[in-house]
């Protein structure tokens, strides 16, 4: 019930909300939990395994029971702790894990079967008969298990990521944290203060960046911290341009952990009934929210810290039936305070059980002399002491240490730069404590871990079955494995295992805490990097032109490349076939900007190329280009490309699109680490130059129309593999390379990227009389397969030079990267899968990449696998499907009929092994 006075809620702002469809009111400043308690709503959920009625246990982020489903529609979110939900107008919340209703939950029958569902249940049941697993057990378990349900539709909110640098990061804005922040700011340091609760006036300090609603969830190496700011969780809908949450990556030279302490519940029979709460939480509800969780309370404690709870209750309208102090003589602090409120103190007594139907109605105690007394009450405020919130101190694998005087773990070795203050350091807590981990006789209904329904009896069972190591205890009983990560359970569970095995707590150890401290939404970690913004998109310099031509684009790494240019009524195949035929019979243009271009200059440039490529470079003349093959040091092919010599000490290397970055990294590795004495520099010019391939029998005729007067591009002046500077379209300085991937007479024209679109248009205009077409990566791919050029599918990191028919390119005269290991006999074994072409015997059959190759009469088992199809396409030039494949002993088997086996796609037919060059094997078109 709401108290008439006090609290920091704003009574002038009334907020309407619903819980399970019923309407209630609260005040601004309430949490959902405090507002429910103010309305005398005690039952808020059903427990995970046994579906027992549960109420609110705590007041902070350690809450294990009050997990609600918040909001509806696309923003619906499960498993939200009611104690951390700031109330807002129109809030809708629903209880979880119950059917058909919270009050009458059919699954409560699980409680009757609790002996079956004891610890280890998962490992002992649903095993036999095994054949029922998929059809019966799994669907059953899925229906019965789990907490909460996903919204199932796309999240409409946006999230942000941001970086923050500071000298001092203070974690926690309680009294100790605020003092630490104030002191640090006074030295002129850059201070950040994070606190998981809503904004508090006393934390808004001069010279301090204060981040309320922000949980520091993880400590990482190098002084890095992860934090999540709940920017708009307290609003029905985020404001315009507001993210829902923000993930902060904080780099701090030092940090101060002022995270306070988390209270331990008392363990007794039915200690999970709604109305049994942590004593400190009762105090918080009274003092901060002006809410009494009930009318008549019993206080069950074992230390002097609970005095403040007694005072808060005593000064409110709550009646206090008794103080049950487990300590033999209680203490003067408690006795005097209780006397001042005329409340009896039972020293050396324990609550043995609570009773009530769906909320606590009374308790039974055992006195020091063994007598039994009953009390009526609707609140049990229980505290077995406080555990310093040391989690963050152990994220880097350091362990907390046990301190007997406070019967709690305190920070041990700390992460570099971190200091701990206040209750988190074990200061000012558990005065005069006598540990009581569970009330003697606590049975199968005395809960240790509320969220995962783990009882004191489960811990005894684990010990009985030999799971006594703390890591086994955790995994066997699931203690500490729920979304609350055992914040109110771990130490108690550990201490009970210690007692059961006759060891001390420090001997028994502690499980490791790992980030995140509280659950973090995946959206926050993703920030803006979702959907199409998951990675950046790179556009070619002819993108606008291609779009205007109706291109369909394909993602190639981060690039968008024109894949094909469909005319009205064409699908991808029709467009591609038309483009291929148009190029081979006339002329076409294709953007090839995306292939990596690396500018290489320096006195030792040629020597450097000799060492990174397998073939020879010192004899390449200025004005010429050459194909180059690059190996990894283990002898496998890494990449290929063409490198042109533009000047005495000036080269431009091309790479495949996919490997541009990797090759650049490799060149820098060789230059900086392997041969630092070579004088050579590199820079990427992929983006500097728009590069367009002009290919087909009419290519020269088109080219002649766009090169400036005085530029000679005749076959004599500019033969196959020539390269050099050129001027185009009235003064544009560019470069011309006579290279061909298509096997046609072809050139690559490079102009500064700003002219990419305009060059494409100029080429189309110049080529109009020849029927010029734009062609995309599909047609490009068909033509290179027709010519047997290995590309990405063949350069898959598992092929050697010999596999690809490039054995002759391995120089015998010089050192190059990969030389030694490429000479391993196993890499030169002709029995290896080696490059061949494939032609279906029945021209209607379709080759597909990935299909396996077998001898025509072999049984289709793995032992008979002789290779696979790497690249396949329909060839309009030849009128049937063709493929490039790796086949054991390939080149020796031309003419053989083999079996192409593709069971997943229902392919099983015969094909002829042929040389990989299907079209113009003499290369006569290249030299036209």
């Amino acid at each position: 019930m709401r108290l008439p006075r006090g609290g920091v809620v704003d009574r002038s702002k009334i907020l309407n909300f619903t819980f399970d469809g019923k309407a209630y009111q609260g005040f601004a400043g309430d949490t959902l939990a405090s507002a429910l308690l103010a309305n005398n709503v005690k039952l808020v959920g059903r427990s995970f395994k046994y579906h027992r009625p549960r109420g609110i246990l705590a007041a902070g982020s350690e809450e294990p029971n009050a997990l609600v489903e918040l909001r509806t529609g696309a923003r619906r979110e499960p498993n939200t702790r009611a104690t951390m939900v700031e109330l807002y107008e129109g809030l809708e919340a629903y209880s979880q894990n119950r059917f058909p209703s919270l009050k009458h939950d059919f699954m409560a029958v699980n409680g009757l079967l609790s002996p079956v569902f004891a610890a280890g249940f998962y490992y002992k049941t649903f095993m036999w008969p095994a054949k029922y697993w998929e059809k019966l057990y799994e669907p059953l378990i899925r229906k019965a298990a789990g907490l909460g349900r996903n919204a199932g539709v796309a999240d409409p909110d946006v999230y942000e990521k941001a970086h923050l640098f500071c000298d001092v990061l203070v974690i926690g804005a309680g009294a100790a944290g605020v003092q630490a922040a104030r002191d640090a700011a006074a030295t002129g340091a850059r201070v950040v203060l994070c606190d998981e609760h809503p904004p508090r006036e006393d934390a808004a300090l001069e010279g301090v960046k204060y981040l309320p609603r922000t949980t520091v969830f993880g400590v990482y190496d190098g002084g890095t911290y992860g934090a999540v700011e709940r920017v708009a969780d307290h609003l029905a809908v985020p404001q315009a341009h507001q993210p829902r949450q923000r993930y902060w990556r904080i780099v701090a030279k030092r940090s101060v952990l002022a995270s306070g302490a988390i209270e331990r519940p008392m363990v007794f029979t039915n200690n999970d009934l709604p109305g049994v709460m942590l004593a400190g939480a009762v105090e918080t509800y009274i003092t901060r929210y002006a809410v009494a969780p009930g009318a008549r309370a019993v206080l069950f404690i074992n230390h002097d810290g609970a005095a403040s709870v007694l005072a808060a209750m005593g000064n409110s309208v709550m009646a206090i039936a008794a103080v049950i102090d487990a300590r033999a003589g209680s203490s003067p602090v408690i006795r005097d305070l209780a006397a001042s409120f005329s409340v009896p103190v039972f020293a050396g007594a324990v609550v043995t059980r609570a009773f009530g139907k769906r909320a606590v109605e009374g308790v039974e105690i055992t006195t020091r002399d063994g007598g039994v007394v009953k009390f009526d009450c609707d609140v049990v405020a229980a505290s077995a002491g406080w555990n310093p919130a040391v989690h963050l101190t152990s994220h880097l694998d350091d362990k907390p240490v046990w301190k007997d005087e406070v019967a709690a773990f305190v920070p041990g070795k700390l992460p570099p730069g971190m200091s701990v203050v206040g209750a988190a350091a074990g200061e000012g807590i558990n005065a005069g404590i006598t540990p009581l981990w569970a009330v003697p006789g606590a049975d199968g209904k005395a809960f240790v871990d509320f969220q995962n329904d783990v009882t004191a009896a489960d811990i005894r069972l684990a010990k009985q079955e030999g799971f006594i190591a703390v890591e086994h205890l955790k995994r066997y009983t699931t203690l500490g494995m729920a979304t609350d990560q055992g914040k109110t359970a771990n130490v108690t569970g550990l201490a009970l295992m210690a007692a059961a095995t006759g060891k001390t707590v420090p001997e028994t150890g502690t499980t490791r805490f790992r980030p995140p401290y509280t659950p973090v939404a995946l959206g926050a970690l993703a920030g803006p990097h979702r959907g199409k913004d998951f990675k950046p998109t790179r556009y070619t310099p002819t993108h606008a032109w291609a779009q205007a031509q109706g291109a369909v684009f394909v993602e190639t790494g981060m690039w968008l490349r024109a894949q094909y240019f469909p005319k009205a009524g064409e699908d991808w195949l029709a467009a591609t076939n038309r483009e291929v035929l148009a190029v081979r019979n006339g002329v076409g243009i294709c953007d090839v900007t995306t292939l990596g271009k690396i500018d290489i200059q320096g006195p030792d440039a040629a020597i450097f190329l000799e060492r990174v490529y397998t073939n020879s470079w010192t004899n390449l003349a200025v004005g010429r280009a050459r194909y180059g093959l690059m190996l990894r040091e283990d002898g496998f092919v890494m990449d290929d490309g063409t490198t042109a010599r533009l000047g005495e000490h000036h080269y431009v290397m091309t790479t495949t699109t996919a490997n541009a970055g990797k090759v650049f990294q490799h060149l820098e590795f060789c230059h900086q680490w392997l041969w630092p004495e070579l004088d050579v520099r590199f820079i990427s010019v992929t983006d500097q130059w728009a590069q367009i391939a002009l290919a087909g029998p009419k290519a020269r005729e088109v080219l002649q129309k766009i090169v400036d007067d005085g530029c000679d591009v005749s076959n004599a002046a500019f033969p196959y593999m020539a390269a050099g500077e050129m001027r185009f379209c009235g003064g544009v300085k560019g470069r011309l390379f006579r290279l061909s991937f298509s096997g046609e007479l072809a050139y690559e024209i490079a102009v500064p990227a700003r002219y990419g679109n305009a060059l494409a248009e100029a080429l189309m205009a110049a080529g109009a009389e020849f029927g010029i077409v734009p062609y995309g990566t599909e047609a490009l791919g068909v033509m290179r397969i027709e010519k047997g050029h290995p590309a990405g599918n063949e350069l898959n990191g598992q092929t050697s030079a010999h596999d690809l028919g490039f054995g002759k390119l391995l120089s015998k005269k010089k050192d190059f990267v990969g030389r030694a290991m490429a000479a391993r006999p196993a890499l030169m074994d002709p029995a290896r899968p080696t490059l061949v072409g494939l032609k279906p015997v029945n021209e209607a059959d379709r080759l597909r990449g990935g299909a396996h190759l077998l001898a025509h009469d072999a049984e289709p088992v793995a032992a008979n696998d002789q290779g696979h199809v790497c690249s396949a396409a329909y060839s309009p030039t030849l009128g049937h499907s063709i493929g490039l494949a790796l086949l054991k002993n390939g080149p020796a088997r031309h003419g053989e009929i083999i079996r192409v086996y593709d069971p997943i796609r229902n392919g099983d037919f015969l094909a002829e092994v042929v040389p990989p060059v299907f079209f113009d094997p003499q290369g006569s078109r290249l030299h036209a």
Binding site: K161, P528, K535, R681, S684, A690, A753, R754, N757
Partner: protein
């Protein structure tokens, strides 16, 4: 002559797409940094800083490497360094205004506070997932990325500045 493409980026209060500027990358050959400096008549920065000479800005861009913004070296040839035109290889954006640093904090993983990134400072780093060279000119920041990333970088900058622009 061919028509040059101008990206249709709209300038906002905080984000200004810069027009194509003369840009040249310089990478000194072994032991030739001093000779290069003498040839240019410029004390090229040897740490991540920039040096302004008239209309031209010389930005440190790696060990013995610089990015020269402005026309002074366009026509130059030198035996002491590899020179490469980058006018078309980069796109440049300016982020300005009192919240420039807060907006960039969403993208750039280095400390841009004036105490550690003062006027004349520069860095090679990331903006989101895009490699950039960032430098400070007074209260404003300039970012240069590979030209093919321009649309993505522009969109990221606009998104980062959105909350401050209303």
């Amino acid at each position: 002559m061919l028509e040059a493409e101008i990206f249709p980026f709209v300038a906002t209060a905080m984000v200004t797409p810069e027009p194509v500027l003369p840009l040249v990358s310089l990478a000194a050959f072994h032991g030739q940094t001093a000779a290069l400096q003498a040839a240019l008549g410029v004390a090229l920065p040897l740490t991540p800083k920039s040096v302004r000479v008239g209309e031209t800005l010389y930005l440190w861009s790696g060990p013995d490497a610089w990015l020269v913004v402005g026309g002074a070296v366009e026509a130059l040839t030198t035996p002491f360094a590899a020179m490469t035109d980058q006018a078309d290889g980069r796109s440049v954006f300016t982020v300005s205004g009192p919240h420039a640093r807060d907006a960039l904090a969403k993208l750039v993983p280095i400390d841009l506070h004036e105490q550690v990134f003062a006027d004349g400072a520069t860095a090679l780093t990331l903006a989101g997932h895009i490699g950039v060279q960032i430098w400070r000119e007074g209260e404003a920041f300039r970012l240069a990325c590979f030209r093919s990333f321009a649309q993505s970088l522009y969109a990221s900058l606009i998104e980062a500045c959105r909350e401050f622009e209303d």
